[in-house]
């Protein structure tokens, strides 16, 4: 368990530093979004989560990622077990069963961690298929494994997190040598599944969200409300923003979930385009380094793991930021590192930890 001293020199301090800065900005923005409301002190809770996450990250970094990947099947089974348990026995909060109640009222959102387990498993399965090119048939086993997890998460329902498994799967499959023809085929299958899902699986509120996304004025008080208000918040921030704690949209309190999924909206309103450039720049830096790690990795497993996690993070950042700008339908998907929430913070930090892990062990030994 002890870390080889030499490995410390190879830790990507830049990437870690960028993550810490983003979390700091996140805590400050959470304070701004909640200090005037009923529920204050969230920024302190977030700091506790960050501290816990950093401790956990230390553990993640100290274990060789290859050993972690070796354990992926066990972790996968455990994750599926917990997801099933939550679905069956979890407390119902706001119409969903996403939460695992720990002792002392401690709540954990297992889906946040399940996606990391999925990344480990996908890396393992594709690395074991030692072929130069992969066909559709080669996708069946990993595809089924990921799909099972996605379905369990989607059933909570937590469509946003379930969706993050798609870019993970596609990215790693692509890296593993999936033929371009096969990619087109997978895309077609997903289209069919998607439209069937639209017809049979989606609940009315989910459909209405998509309708109103297409035309928010259909329901300006209901599902279109968040999109309109968030767009106004972002747009009215202008070049320099309205100033910290001075966002009219945020402070008047009609941005729901403004400290969780819509934290970027508060940031954009109060810090303007300048703040947006700074924060997106930091994300860009982290993601760039993450993909770079995949290129540097000493083996396929490492490359797949780093790239898979980078894909998850990229999707979350891009989707969340696009959602805040009103470009895509509103989904419950936190912004990694910045959104309020213990599970999200921990999971983001573990993800960064896994990438650091691959990078610091990139040299042969």
């Amino acid at each position: 368990m002890a870390i080889d001293r030499r490995l410390l020199f190879n830790i990507d301090w830049g990437c870690l530093g960028a993550a810490l800065i983003l979390m700091g900005i996140g805590v400050a923005t959470i304070l701004s979004a909640t200090f005037a409301g009923r529920n204050t002190g969230l920024e302190i809770k977030q700091l506790y989560a960050v501290a816990l996450g950093l401790a956990g990250m230390l553990v993640v970094v100290s274990l060789d990622y290859r050993r972690l990947v070796d354990r992926a099947p066990v972790l996968y089974l455990a994750a599926v077990g917990v997801l099933v348990y939550v679905l069956a026995f979890g407390p119902r909060i706001a119409g969903t069963r996403r939460w695992f109640m720990g002792p002392g009222g401690f709540q954990v959102q297992p889906s946040e961690f399940a996606k990391l387990v999925a990344a480990l498993l996908v890396a393992k399965l594709f690395a074991e298929a030692k072929k130069e090119t992969l066909g559709v048939v080669d996708l069946l086993v990993p595809g089924a494994a990921v799909a099972l997890m996605a379905v369990l998460i989607a059933a909570e329902p937590d469509l946003g997190t379930a969706f993050t498994l798609v870019p993970l799967f596609l990215t790693v499959a692509f890296l593993a040598g999936l033929r371009v023809r096969a990619i087109v085929g997978v895309f077609l299958v997903m289209m069919i599944v998607g439209s069937l899902g639209w017809m049979f699986a989606l609940k009315e509120y989910q459909k209405s969200r998509i309708y109103t996304f297409l035309d928010p004025n259909l329901d300006p008080r209901g599902a279109g409300y968040q999109k309109i208000q968030s767009e106004i918040a972002v747009g009215s921030g202008g070049m320099a923003g309205k100033g910290y704690k001075q966002g009219t949209q945020s402070q008047l309190g009609y941005l729901p979930a403004r400290h969780t999924d819509f934290i970027f909206s508060v940031l954009a309103e109060e810090n303007g385009f300048v703040g947006v450039v700074a924060v997106l720049g930091l994300y860009m830096f982290i993601l760039w380094r993450a993909f770079e790690t995949a290129q540097m990795a000493r083996d396929r497993v490492g490359a797949f793991l780093a790239a898979g996690i980078a894909a998850i993070l990229s999707f979350q950042v891009v989707y969340n930021v696009a959602m805040v700008a009103g470009l895509v339908p509103v989904k419950g998907l936190p912004l990694p590192l910045m959104s309020y929430g213990g599970s999200s913070v921990l999971s983001s930090l573990f993800a960064v930890g896994l990438i650091l892990n691959v990078r610091m062990r990139r040299f042969a030994n």
Binding site: F35, A36, R38, R66, D70, A127, E128, E132, T171, F174, L175, G177, R221, E231, I232, A233, V234, G235, S236, G237, G238, M239, Q246, T248, Q249, Q251, L252, G253, A268, G272, F273, V276, V277, L280, Y283, M284, L287, W288, F291, E292, A294, Q295, A297, R298, D299, R300, V301, A303, F304, A307, A310, A311, S314, V317, V318, V321, A322, A325, L327, A364
Partner: protein, 634 residues
């Protein structure tokens, strides 16, 4: 796992190339997002800023009316009336311009004070501030007529707490007011926000949580000047539940009338249950003045008034019980078999004990008296002897048992416990030994501080056959009865209670309390005086009001089946028999609808006994005389 060994031979070039593709793709998408944000924030920034200014939605609370308070017969004690508040909504601190000054010329208020409150608000710049609470109809009409010129001003309709009886129930019901910054910080009221109206005293404070409803909510769309454009959502408030108090308005009215012009306390309870039928602390204040926010000048006036109208005398006034403490002496001595009702002592007008001479209030002495006579005539010498035989430990034990030096548990905030001096107390506070001579002073109700409501409980113990009650105001909230500790049986033998009751009857029938006599209803009572200055000081100015002792009268009636037990305390009223007993008589006669036939109320009897005022005692260090310590009554 084989991967570790195979690694060296892995060809990673395809993987690395494809990673590059994904990496570039992500960078491209993020760059695209940045371009979109540029478009949204910089190119279209003005458009969205206008939207943000013009299309604001604000949540405003709709205050819930507090539960109304009723007396035991369903008559209203506190209600809510609709009142109008003139408010201004400020979007920016500088945004009001001259509006405040223009408005102040129309409806007269202090613009500087309002501006200060506006500037003191934290956080968001948007805030509604009341400039004039409980505005008159003319003010409302003036504001409504200028809606176009002064859009920042508007009129809110709010429920305003109103107390029809005003001053008469100020100290029992208390009053309401806006939650203060200190209360917000201390968390005295859970989950309440600035601007909430909460109980600040009395029953209103004690039962604040129960009486408050849940505020409703209005979501309104306002324009950039903060003026309501349209209402988007409305959630009706939940009214506070009505509460029934134990107060009997008839008796309360009689109490208020009888105490008119006096300072002091009256509390009347049902001696069997502890239910408070009437409660007065006077002088008092008008609780209605607090409902819409009391003016600083009025508040200062109340604070510096030498008569202390803010003090809740029945639970906070600490007085020496004086001769009323002889009830405790008698209860203790009879129960401990130190005396019997027939035990006699001779009163030559003084007692020589512990190397000092202590006098009775009647210089010529009461002669040889038994316990009933001693209580009826309030003979001090008799109870000096009783006190000496009981000794301080037993006196202290019975006083504490009867509820002295501890809160009664009445459902009012800020009750004071009073004080009882005994050896343990003296050692704790002064690190000094107890002198036997001090016991003598305790026996006649000095060296202690009791509240009127504590003394009332002693009368109730005699009235109800030996049970200590918890006085209380609340019968039911929202139809649900409120529970209080059951009366606690103190274990007095029936003949002890009967003897003290007999003595209390003779106080009114032929003793110091004759002025409380009623026609056809037997009243049992005990008078007392609480000295406020030393005897020597009183001699210097015999008629100065502030030197006069406080008059006590505790009683219950009808004696054979008590319906009411009462304490009357008239501050600086002089002797209790002449100041407090007539008040008691007047109240009881009104309540029972019979004539008061005491002296001064009807033609006076030949020789109304004079109420004693306790003599100052100089406790001197001296060993008790062995002869006296061994003396036995009879």
């Amino acid at each position: 796992m084989g991967t570790a060994r195979v690694r060296i031979y892995e060809d990673l070039r395809t993987v690395q190339r494809r990673v590059g593709v994904v990496q570039a793709l992500v960078a491209l998408v993020l760059a695209g997002l940045l371009v979109y944000f540029w478009h949204l924030q910089v190119i279209r920034g003005k458009y969205f800023r206008d939207l943000a200014e013009n299309n604001r939605i604000r949540a405003l609370p709709i205050p819930a009316p507090r539960g109304p308070l009723f007396d035991r017969k369903g008559r209203i004690l506190a209600e809510n009336r609709s009142s109008f508040n003139v408010v201004v909504t400020s979007e920016r601190k500088d945004g009001l311009g001259g509006a405040l000054e223009r408005l102040s010329r129309l409806i007269s208020f202090d613009p500087a004070e309002v501006r200060e409150r506006l500037n003191n608000t934290q956080g968001p710049r948007f805030r509604t501030v009341v400039v004039k609470a409980d505005a008159s109809d003319e003010d409302v009409a003036t504001i409504e007529a200028r809606r176009l010129e002064e859009p920042e001003a508007s009129v809110d309709v709010v429920p305003l707490r109103s107390y029809p009886l005003g001053v008469g129930l100020a100290h029992s019901l208390g009053y309401v007011g806006e939650i203060s910054d200190r209360q917000l910080e201390s968390g005295a009221f859970e989950k309440l926000e600035a601007g909430s109206i909460v109980g600040q005293a009395g029953v209103e404070l004690q039962y604040n949580r129960e009486l408050m409803g849940r505020d409703g909510l209005r979501r309104i769309v306002v324009n950039s000047r903060g003026v309501e454009v349209t209402e988007a959502e409305r959630k009706a408030p939940l009214d506070g539940p009505p509460a029934t108090l134990t107060i009997d308005l008839d008796l309360q009215a009689a109490v208020v009338e009888a105490m008119a012009g006096k300072s002091g306390s009256v509390v009347a309870i049902d001696p069997n249950s502890g239910e408070i039928l009437a409660y007065l602390s006077t002088p008092a204040f008008d609780p209605n003045a607090f409902s819409s926010g009391i003016k600083a000048s009025e508040w200062a006036e109340l604070l510096k008034d030498p008569e202390k109208p803010l003090m809740n005398r029945p639970i906070q006034g600490g007085y020496a019980p004086g001769s009323t403490f002889k009830l405790v002496d008698a209860l203790a001595a009879l129960q401990e078999r130190v005396i019997t009702p027939q035990t006699k002592f001779n009163c030559p007008g003084y007692l020589s004990v512990y190397n000092t001479v202590i006098r009775c209030h009647k210089e010529s002495g009461h002669g040889t008296v038994d316990m009933t006579q001693a209580i009826a005539l309030s003979c001090n010498v008799y109870f000096y002897n009783v006190g000496i035989r009981l000794e301080i430990e037993r006196l202290s034990r019975y006083a504490h048992m009867l509820g002295f030096a501890q809160p009664t548990g009445v459902d009012l905030p800020h009750e004071l416990p009073g004080l009882f001096q005994d050896p343990e107390w003296k050692m704790r506070t002064q690190q000094a030994r107890w002198f036997p001579a001090e016991t003598v002073s305790v026996a006649i109700g000095q060296a202690m501080s009791v509240t009127p409501i504590q003394l009332l409980r002693v009368a109730a113990v005699v009235a109800n056959g030996g049970k200590l009650v918890t006085p209380h105001f609340m019968k039911a909230v929202g139809g649900r009865p409120v529970d209080f500790p059951a009366p606690k049986d103190l274990g007095f033998r029936p003949e002890v209670i009967a003897a003290v009751r007999e003595a209390m009857l003779s106080v009114v029938s032929e003793g110091t309390g004759m002025r409380a006599k009623l026609e056809g209803i037997q009243v049992a009572g005990k008078t007392g005086s609480a000295q406020v200055v030393t005897h020597a000081r009183l001699e210097t100015n015999k008629h100065a009001r502030e030197y006069q002792p406080h008059g006590w009268f505790v009683c219950f009636a009808p004696a054979e089946n008590p319906k009411v037990a009462m304490v009357v305390m008239v501050e600086h009223g002089t002797a209790g028999g002449t100041s407090a007993a007539p008040v008691g008589g007047q109240i009881l006669s009104r309540y029972f609808g019979v004539r008061a036939i005491g002296p001064g109320m009807t033609p006076p009897p030949d020789n109304p006994p004079v109420e004693p005022s306790p003599q100052p005692l100089r406790a001197q260090v001296a060993p008790p005389s062995p002869a006296l310590a061994q003396a036995r009554p009879n």
